[in-house]
């Protein structure tokens, strides 16, 4: 396999070795070449030379392409699969590699293997694992840029950074004083209001922002898992859910507020405090319902994030707390508290950079499904070392030893990376990385006897295991960035990943107890191993008024020792897994017509792929489809502008996810105005 990687890499190098560029033009791409990333190496460095596969989405790109949510902005990123579940509610996976356990529960569709961070604060749900995009306490207006690292990076950011990290950097006050308002309205009763105000007081920058968003679903019907068809809510016989939400047509209803206070980040002692609050009520694929794929989740959380840097010391503490409620699942209402702390130092010597650090994550959930209040904590001891034997050559190793209170076993994550600047316009990178997930409350502590509310003859007993092992992934990767000439830039990555150490709830044959048919499910180790090989090609063309960003990923996923429907004692088998599309691609074309008008086309292609869940949820095949959005924006002045956007112009009416809403075209109109400096 390694030979194959290098073969492809050298072929690619020779293919593009006819270069008209010189060092003058390196990074011409006035935007790309001058970009820096701080996620890849935990410090600022040129994007061109970063050792990991990384992409950056800027505020400008988001604005030009008519994006209306943070998750949707990831459609601009190579190697990322973004699927819409309901209007404005998205599911995001880096390189896919998802749903590879055939016959698992609906909850397994959540992405448990990508870490999301906002300004270094991990935003992750440890209930059953996953990203709760709806509970992010920021609006799109707060986003400065999003950095997406593809690869196993637990050694830098702790557990769950298995397939990568999505790091959102938010805005700070920029001096002077201003108030900015953004209003957006679309079909399907979609309305977004965002307001921000900022002011400097001496050397302290204060910024306040708030956002409010409501959207209706694409359709009123739900897919009945029992009847295998879309039906009106009133016509669905509920088996596992007590009741549906009273506003079944509402997709998203959320609000957030945020206050940031900081001094100059270049000061020897600098601080950055953010306080936040969010409330949301969103329908999404979340719980293991036997009735419909969508569950209504109500969230109400508050918190703070404080960063203090003193010279080369960096320290961060955060705490957030609140309540989550899955409507219709009375046992699954819970309080949550997550505290994080980290500190790291940078030691610099000629040719050497040493970054030791510790971080800690303490998670407390209090809910009936786990028998009351439960706490898990994870401490990561980290060491990252860079060595440059030559100016063009760099070696990096990063180790992280994760100590969990449960499971008892501790885990070592690592990265061994090298970068080589072949010439002024060509950089190569290679890596071997290993990462692990953390455990989740459901896996560890669930111990319930669940009698179906509308069919008391059936009962499911589910039992977790706090010492259940954690899944691990190893990734081998080589990549190349090349500035072909003033206008053209390419980034190629070839990757091979292996994932194992899975656990899941193995189903035992039903037994009759006290007149009930009882099915027991216990968390058990699975022999399953997933292997993925893939290639991502990103070509960027910039020519003043015209910009093209084109990307495509090809991947192949195989699963070995798959257990049929997770039934105890079932024979295992090997299979090709089609949960991740074999091909997925995107094109973002931007045409700056003049100083005021901008025209943007954003297209995303997903090759056919499928979902294999346990009965009665069953399976689903999603056909190949191309989704296209058009956006025309007009900037009247630095203070005023607007846009018109048509989403899903290609009129694809299929559900992109597991029997979620069938999409429709949607039309948006936006207006923004700024007062002050």
């Amino acid at each position: 396999m390694i030979k194959l990687f290098f073969g492809i890499l050298f072929f690619a190098i020779s293919l593009f070795n006819v270069s008209y560029a010189d060092e003058l033009f390196y990074g011409v791409s006035e935007e790309i070449g001058d970009m820096t990333s701080s996620t890849s190496s935990k410090r600022d460095e040129e994007l061109f030379l970063t050792p990991l596969s990384i992409s950056i989405v800027t505020e400008k790109q988001i604005r030009q392409s008519g994006i209306t949510t943070i998750a949707e902005a990831l459609k601009l990123v190579p190697g990322v699969i973004v699927r819409e579940q309901t209007n404005g509610q998205f599911d995001v996976h880096i390189r896919g590699f998802e749903n590879i356990i055939s016959g698992a529960a609906l909850t397994n569709l959540n992405n448990r293997k990508t870490l999301i961070m906002i300004d270094n604060r991990v935003v992750f749900d440890y209930f059953s694992g996953g990203i709760f995009w709806d509970t992010l306490p920021i609006s799109l207006e707060d986003v400065d840029r999003i950095e997406v690292v593809r690869g196993a990076v637990s050694s830098l950011y702790g557990a769950n950074a298995v397939t990568g990290v999505i790091h959102i950097f938010t805005k700070r006050g920029q001096g002077g004083g201003s108030i900015k308002t953004s209003l957006m309205a679309g079909t399907k009763n979609s309305q977004i209001v965002q307001v921000s105000a900022e002011k400097m007081f001496a050397d302290v920058a204060i910024r306040f922002s708030g956002g409010s968003e409501i959207r209706d679903r694409y359709e009123k019907k739900y897919f009945s898992l029992l009847d295998r068809q879309y039906k009106d809510p009133d016509d669905i016989d509920l088996l596992s859910i007590v009741n549906l939400h009273s506003h079944s047509e509402r997709a998203v209803d959320k609000h957030s507020f945020r206050l940031t206070v900081n001094n100059d980040p270049l000061d020897y002692l600098n601080y950055d405090l953010s306080l936040f609050h969010q409330e949301s009520d969103v329908q999404k694929v979340h719980m293991n319902s036997r009735d419909i794929p969508l569950t209504d989740n109500i969230s109400n959380t508050d918190g703070f994030n404080l960063k203090i840097n003193y010279g080369n010391w960096s320290t961060r503490v955060s705490h957030h707390f609140g309540k989550q409620e899955a409507v219709g699942f009375p046992d699954f209402t819970y309080d949550t508290q997550i505290s994080q702390a980290s500190t790291s130092y940078q030691l610099k010597f000629p040719k050497w950079l040493i970054q030791p650090g510790i971080d800690s994550n303490r998670t407390t959930y209090d809910g009936g499904f786990i028998g009351g209040k439960r706490t898990t904590h994870e401490t990561n001891y980290m060491l990252r070392v860079e060595y440059k034997p030559k100016r063009e050559w760099r070696f990096i190793s990063a180790l992280s030893y994760s100590d969990f209170n449960a499971p008892e076993e501790n885990y070592l994550s690592y990265q061994f990376l090298t970068t080589y600047q072949l010439s002024f316009d060509t950089s190569l990178r290679a890596s071997i990385q290993a990462a692990s997930s953390s455990s989740f409350m459901v896996n560890q502590y669930i111990d319930i006897e669940f009698t179906f509310p509308n069919d008391p003859s059936q009962r499911v007993d589910v039992k977790g295991d706090k010492n259940g092992r954690l899944s691990r992934m190893k990734t081998y990767e080589v990549g190349m960035r090349k500035q072909l000439d003033f206008n053209n830039f390419i980034d190629i990555e070839v990757f091979h990943s292996e994932i194992n150490n899975f656990t899941n709830f193995i189903i035992q044959p039903p037994v009759m107890i006290d007149g009930q048919s009882v099915t027991k499910r216990e968390l058990s180790n699975l022999p399953l191993k997933g292997v993925q090989d893939g290639l991502t090609l990103n070509w960027i063309y910039e020519s003043g008024a015209w910009d093209f960003n084109t990307f495509i990923t090809w991947q192949n996923t195989e699963v070995f020792d798959q257990a049929e429907n997770l039934i105890q004692g079932a024979e295992t088998f090997d299979e090709y897994n089609n949960s991740t599309p074999k091909y997925y691609a995107g094109l973002n074309m931007n045409w700056q017509l003049d100083e005021a008008f901008n025209f943007n086309v954003l297209s995303n292609y997903l090759h056919t792929h499928g979902f294999e869940l346990q009965e009665p949820q069953g399976s689903k095949e999603t056909p190949s489809a191309l989704y296209t959005n058009l956006t025309l924006s007009y900037q009247h002045s630095a203070r005023m502008g607007g846009f018109i956007s048509i989403k899903n112009l290609s009129d694809q009416r299929e559900s992109q996810h597991f029997y979620t809403d069938r999409l429709e075209p949607i039309y948006w109109l936006g207006f923004n105005v700024k007062f002050g400096d």
Partner: protein, 260 residues
């Protein structure tokens, strides 16, 4: 060496001029904010390199079209494509020589060390920086020899901009910053750091400054005339007087810095 390079340039210009079209004026641009080498604050004075070009053009009876401020990389791109005739002030590298024609060196840029005044130290040579933590602006070269020494023996970070560099020096996050002497002096003044930041007297390195000409310009005959006039200005002391004008301006700034 200078005679050989001038002869080569003239030969190249003659060859290119054979295919050139008539043109009314020469388009000029430069790295904005690179005071005193190129700057636009005053329409009468475009910095040392800008003034050399405008004065030479004036003496040779050539019209000049000063192009608007655009990013440096785009300026280089335009020069390569022939959409720009002249860059008033550029460093010469082997790569650039393949793409452009250059005048002989008309001036030099001096890199100096900027320190917080309570952290000042004696600097005579690069080895005096060992054990200290410095920075330069990302992408800036210290000169080949100094770059090599710095890589092997020094800790020099990259700052994203001159503003960040001087702010980090002033806040004590760095033991020193390396930047162009006169440009840095202006930056220090602009940021009200004159009470905090000092400039050490010994330069880190000196790099020759050149006028760069497009090989694809349609105004090759005018370029030949302009380059010849620049050479004459070197010989008759006109360039030196332009340099002196700016140096006296810088000296007065320096006095202000020291007196503050």
């Amino acid at each position: 060496m200078s005679i050989i390079s001038n002869a080569t340039l003239c030969a190249l210009l003659v060859i290119y001029s054979a295919s050139s079209f008539s043109c009314d004026k020469l388009s000029v641009n430069g790295a904005d904010g690179w005071y005193p080498y190129f700057a636009r604050q005053n329409p009468e004075h475009l910095g040392i390199m800008g003034d050399i070009v405008t004065k030479a053009a004036d003496r040779a009876g050539i019209n000049i079209d000063l192009r608007p401020s655009i990013p440096w990389k785009r300026i280089l791109f335009n020069l390569r494509n022939g959409n720009l005739d002249i860059i008033a002030g550029a460093l010469k590298t082997q790569q650039r020589e393949k793409q452009f024609m250059f005048s002989s060196a008309v001036h030099h840029a001096e890199l100096r060390i900027f320190v917080r005044n309570d952290l000042s130290f004696n600097y005579q040579q690069l080895s005096d920086l060992e054990g200290k933590h410095g920075a330069k602006v990302r992408g800036m070269s210290l000169g080949q020899e100094a770059d090599e020494y710095a890589f092997n023996h020094l800790v020099i970070d990259d700052a994203p901009s001159p503003k960040s560099l001087f702010q980090m020096v002033a806040s004590g996050r760095l033991d020193y910053g390396i930047f162009y002497w006169s440009t840095g002096l202006k930056e220090v003044k602009k940021r009200n750091l004159t009470n905090i930041v000092d400039i050490l007297p010994t330069p880190v390195s000196k790099e020759g400054l050149y006028i760069a000409f497009s090989k694809n310009s349609s105004c090759q005959s005018q370029i030949v005339l302009l380059n010849n006039e620049i050479e004459r200005m070197k010989e008759d002391g006109s360039i030196e007087s332009i340099i002196q004008y700016y140096h006296s301006s810088i000296a007065s700034q320096n006095m202000e810095v020291n007196n503050d």
